[in-house]
């Protein structure tokens, strides 16, 4: 990106050997084709505090991930903003999650993207290691990509305007 303050990251979290857990990685692959070098795309299984290092240099970040919680049917897409993660709910036995990452960055004065959105797709509990997406998730994938495209396109236009001005 030519202007650091306008930098955009598409961050896809998931694991491509745990079936539907790889849905964000699939989407990121398609979005990379669409947007080329207009933004950075990173697919990773990174978690917890490692996200601080990844997020710090960017001004706008769209995070794609899957979720298993909730009663929604598999393939349901949910959008979250930074405010949804403000509450740190408790102590983990083994891990620091996104709420802790956001709170920690804020406390320590580490840069955190001013615009931070999450698009999450509900998946069913994955019982086995396997490659490839289930039928339900494959069907939902085009909509998932479309919603991400919309957000990223808006950000790219906004960045272009800011750079011009």
């Amino acid at each position: 990106m030519s202007c650091p303050n306008e930098s955009i990251l598409l961050l896809a979290l998931g694991n491509d050997i745990i079936g539907d857990d790889g849905v964000a990685l699939e989407a990121a692959g398609a979005l990379r084709e669409t947007f080329g070098d207009q933004l950075d795309v990173l697919e990773t299984t990174e978690a917890g505090l490692g996200l601080i290092d990844i997020l710090e240099p960017y001004n706008r970040v769209l995070l794609l991930d899957s979720i298993e919680i909730g009663d929604m049917p598999a393939g349901t897409i949910r959008e979250f903003s930074r405010e949804d993660f403000h509450k740190v709910l408790g102590q983990s036995p083994h891990y620091a999650g996104l709420p802790e990452v956001i709170a920690l960055a804020h406390k320590l004065g580490i840069n955190f993207p001013s615009e931070f959105r999450v698009l999450a797709m509900k998946i069913d509990f994955q019982e086995e290691f396997r490659q490839g997406l289930s039928y339900d998730i494959q069907q939902a994938l085009p909509d998932y990509i479309k919603q991400a495209e919309k957000i990223l396109s808006q950000w790219i236009r906004k960045s272009a305007r800011n750079i011009t001005n």
């Binding site: 979290l13 490692g50 919680i69 036995p93 709420p99 920690l104 999450v118």
Partner: protein, 486 residues
């Protein structure tokens, strides 16, 4: 009327492990179970794949300790392909591994296990987290923790690419070496981590050891088990995380086994229970005697304090002094206190920091001779390292082309699964009396398994990353009569 309490972590990274506590008619704990319906089929997933892919595939089992799987897998390939890495390659591997141990141990102490002590075991759940720790210890210290972690990860990334997907270990060596400029840069990190290790142990002394309530808690019988202990040791029986033989001591501290990684099948077997997917490894020559401790038990623990118990000491001066002070305070060796795992973690991090400096001061570390190309026909290999949370075993067999025909992994949380189940039950029985169940008491039960730094999910991340615990109390008909969430 009997009651049932369930502590059910429902996010993926925590896995789907849960704790079920059954109360009797008087409200005391009758039984407690630690259950893990974990992801299945990894070994089968690997069959038929080229063995050389394993150091890249196995780190994906877990987003928390990819370096441990990468290193165990790499060592297994040395054995499978019958190739000895050059000395510089072993040193470079151990350098990367030391950096990993430091960052992982401090992450657990300050962010995951630390809140129990730094903020308080019965503090409100909303405060018992990293922000609570920062509020107690101050922003400057939190910033240092982040710096230690970043600098150690910089070493790993320089050598192995992305921390989460290391590309470094090869059968017979490593993919790259370091030059003098990098050696000097890494040496600064090593010196900083040694200073930080002194500070971390001082902080533990100030916050925990100077608080009589915490010392009582650490020494409380509800958190103690007299088990066997296991860990890798070097030729002098000093703890080693990268290489050596596996040493096992009994609850009295006497050596009862010492074996090369390839001999693990003669010493370790796995018990299964119908109520859990996780296996329960035990000492084969003693046999499975159930979820019991004591001199006749086959249960063996593999965790920071277990490693310290299994070794005769630490191979570096500061860590050795810290090791001696720890045992002096705990009343001798071996120590059986589960909550002292946190202390041992800090001693081990100090050893890793000193070891990193030793390796970087060795002129051979910058050698260009860091790979021996395999020339033998592959057949079978075993590799063992000490992951932050305990002994990690990889075992592969292949055909003559190196295509995998058998894969067996025993991860640290496997080894600790029976002890965790025992620790949870004992803590529940010690803490919950007369039907009184509240958030603080349940956290004190959780502390029994949190000390093991359990890795039960083998998934890699979770969104939104919170850990909603649900404690349900049911009557004998299954009706929920109380629910605690956080």
């Amino acid at each position: 009327m009997s009651k049932r309490i369930t502590i059910d972590p429902i996010t993926r990274l925590e896995g789907h492990g849960k704790i079920e506590i059954f109360l009797d008619d008087s409200g005391d704990v009758e039984r407690a179970f630690f259950q893990v319906p974990e992801l299945r089929g990894f070994e089968t997933f690997c069959l038929g794949r080229p063995s050389e892919e394993m150091p890249r595939i196995t780190p994906r089992i877990c987003g928390v300790c990819p370096t441990a799987h990468h290193m165990a897998s790499t060592k297994t390939l040395d054995d499978l392909w019958k190739v000895e890495p050059p000395p510089a390659a072993k040193k470079l591997r151990e350098l990367v591994y030391s950096a990993f141990m430091i960052e992982d141990h401090y992450l657990h102490f300050f962010f995951l296990g630390g809140p129990d002590f730094v903020v308080g075991p019965t503090a409100p759940a909303a405060e018992r987290n990293i922000l609570g720790v920062i509020a107690k210890v101050g922003l400057e210290i939190a910033g240092k923790v982040i710096r230690v972690r970043r600098e150690c990860r910089n070493i790993i990334e320089t050598m192995a690419g992305k921390v989460i997907h290391p590309v470094f270990g090869l059968p017979g060596g490593v993919s790259r070496g370091i030059d003098e400029v990098q050696r000097q840069e890494f040496l600064k990190t090593a010196e900083f981590t040694i200073e930080f290790s002194k500070f971390a142990l001082e902080l533990f002394g100030d916050v925990v050891l100077k608080n009589p309530d915490y010392v009582d808690l650490v020494l409380n019988d509800a958190y103690a088990h007299q088990t066997n202990y296991m860990g890798l040791v070097d030729a002098d029986n000093k703890a080693n995380f990268y290489d050596g033989q596996v040493r096992v001591v009994n609850p009295s501290g006497d050596e009862i086994a010492k074996f090369a990684p390839q001999e693990y099948v003669d010493h370790i077997d796995e018990h299964v229970e119908p109520w859990s997917y996780i296996t329960f490894p035990y000492l084969k020559k003693i046999g499975w005697k159930g979820f019991v401790d004591g001199p006749d038990s086959g249960v063996v623990r593999a965790a920071p304090l277990a490693r310290c118990n299994a070794a005769d000491g630490m191979a570096t001066p500061l860590a050795q002094a810290s090791y001696e002070y720890m045992y002096e305070t705990l009343g001798g060796k071996p120590a059986h206190c589960t909550l002292a795992f946190h202390w041992a973690r800090l001693v081990e991090a100090q050893y890793s920091a000193e070891r990193m400096k030793e390796l970087l001061e060795d002129p051979e570390i910058t050698s260009d001779d860091f790979r021996n190309v395999p020339t033998e026909t592959p057949s079978e290999g075993v590799g063992i390292v000490e992951a932050p949370r305990g002994t990690l075993v990889h075992h592969y067999r292949s055909d003559e082309n190196g295509m995998l025909t058998m894969v067996n992994l025993i991860v640290a949380t496997n080894f600790n699964s029976a002890p965790i189940a025992m620790s949870v039950e004992k803590a529940a029985k010690g803490m919950i009396k007369g039907g009184e169940v509240n958030d603080g008491l349940l956290n004190m039960v959780e502390m029994a398994f949190r000390a093991y730094d359990p890795c039960i999910a083998c998934a890699t991340h979770s969104l939104p990353g919170q850990m909603p615990l649900v404690a349900r109390i049911r009557d004998s008909s299954g009706t929920v009569i109380r629910e605690i969430r956080r």
